[in-house]
Amino acid sequence: MSEENNLKEEMKRLKEEMNALKQQLQNMTNQRTQKRRGIYIDVDDRLAGVSDYINEVMKGVTEGIEGEIEKSIFIHPHAGQVKIIHRDRADREPPEHIEKPDLNKVANIMSALGQEHRLKILQELMTGGKYISDLQNALPEITTSTLSSHLDVLQEAGLVVQERVRGRYLITIPGRMAYKMSNMIVKQRDRHADTDAETEPSQP
């Protein structure tokens, strides 16, 4: 009889263990679901009810955010955190599919930009069309013949155009873009140089 009771006790204990395991499995399944949505809140089993509530709230918040920004971004399925990635960046073609530029043309433009005086001329023209006399006044360090020569180079590269009737020099759309781009490159490089200097370990 006692053996039968012992067996019953054992079965009851096994049932409870099985239920506990089932519950644990259910919790794990819930956690995996939340992980897929990018949110994972790890809590003690004793707070399972609270956990479910929080997860439910977070799910609602996530859906709300997704709804608000549906087309511009998406939630990245990264465990442990909500990661926002811009869709346009994600949709970009991989580098190998990017159209290859005519490097000769690129080199010609870069060559035209690769002179401090020519960059100064572009800088002056950024504020509007100028006669050669205006440029001479603004850039006295450049001789007249050198100035004309630089303007020829800039015109050849399509960065500057000269009006034939009035004689003014105007910066073109590519000229304006090239000038801005060169400034951006310098700023970016300087920013990285500063960051590198900050992170570099100090010498003993």
């Binding site: 069309g129 034939r164 009737v165 105007l170 073109t172």
Partner: protein, 209 residues
């Protein structure tokens, strides 16, 4: 002025000095000394000139936008006949009767040969062109014969100008309003606001300077 009523005068003249027929901020038309000319008459009234000789036409078909300048200057030698409608006092002061030598300078052996060429030119321009235009003191219309047996047309009235050729159409008014159509691209600019349609791309720039 009805195109059908146009006829040429009979007195062959030449330019005694280099003469600027039109000049504004965007365009300049010059003719060289020695260029031969005949008056164009409408109902016996002088209404313009036909030119055969040398000259140069320059048009700055450039539009300034807040993102930079678009377009380029157009320059062409006027070594083919061209017409000018509208009177010009400076021109009239620089005219003298052409001599046999003046005609010979451009390969014409006689006045008759030159007149024949001049009439052919005017007929070619008036051919299939029906209509009329009114020209007042401020307006000048130029028609330049091209190698394609077509005519490039320039109409200028003070600060307004329209140029139409095989390659380009350019319209400008007081530098504030411009339209340019050229090899698949259309550009419309008004007081610094610009729309560019180029090979399927549309750029709208609303930033006024």
């Amino acid at each position: 002025m009805l195109l059908q009523h146009m006829q040429l005068g009979t007195q062959t003249q030449k330019l005694t000095k280099d003469t600027t027929l039109l000049q504004n901020e965007k365009c300049i038309i010059k003719t060289a000394a020695g260029t031969l000319t005949l008056p164009i008459l409408v109902e016996d009234n002088p209404s313009g000139h036909l030119f055969i000789g040398k000259g140069e036409f320059t048009l700055d078909a450039i539009i300034e936008t807040t993102r930079g300048a678009i377009g380029k200057p157009t320059t062409r030698d006027l070594n083919r006949p061209f017409l000018m409608f509208g009177e010009d006092t400076t021109l009239n002061q620089n005219l003298a009767l052409a001599t046999t030598q003046d005609l010979a300078n451009y390969g014409y052996k006689s006045t008759e040969e030159f007149l024949k060429k001049a009439h052919e030119t005017l007929d070619q321009f008036a051919h299939r062109r029906h209509g009329q235009f009114d020209i007042n003191e401020d307006t000048h219309i130029f028609a330049f014969a091209t190698e394609y047996n077509k005519w490039d047309i320039l109409i200028a009235k003070r600060d307004k100008m329209v140029y139409a050729s095989k390659e380009k159409v350019y319209i400008t008014k007081n530098n504030d309003h411009s339209v340019s159509l050229e090899s698949g691209s259309i550009l419309v600019s008004r007081k610094g606001k610009t729309i560019v349609i180029d090979k399927g791309n549309i750029l709208v720039d609303r930033d006024a300077p």
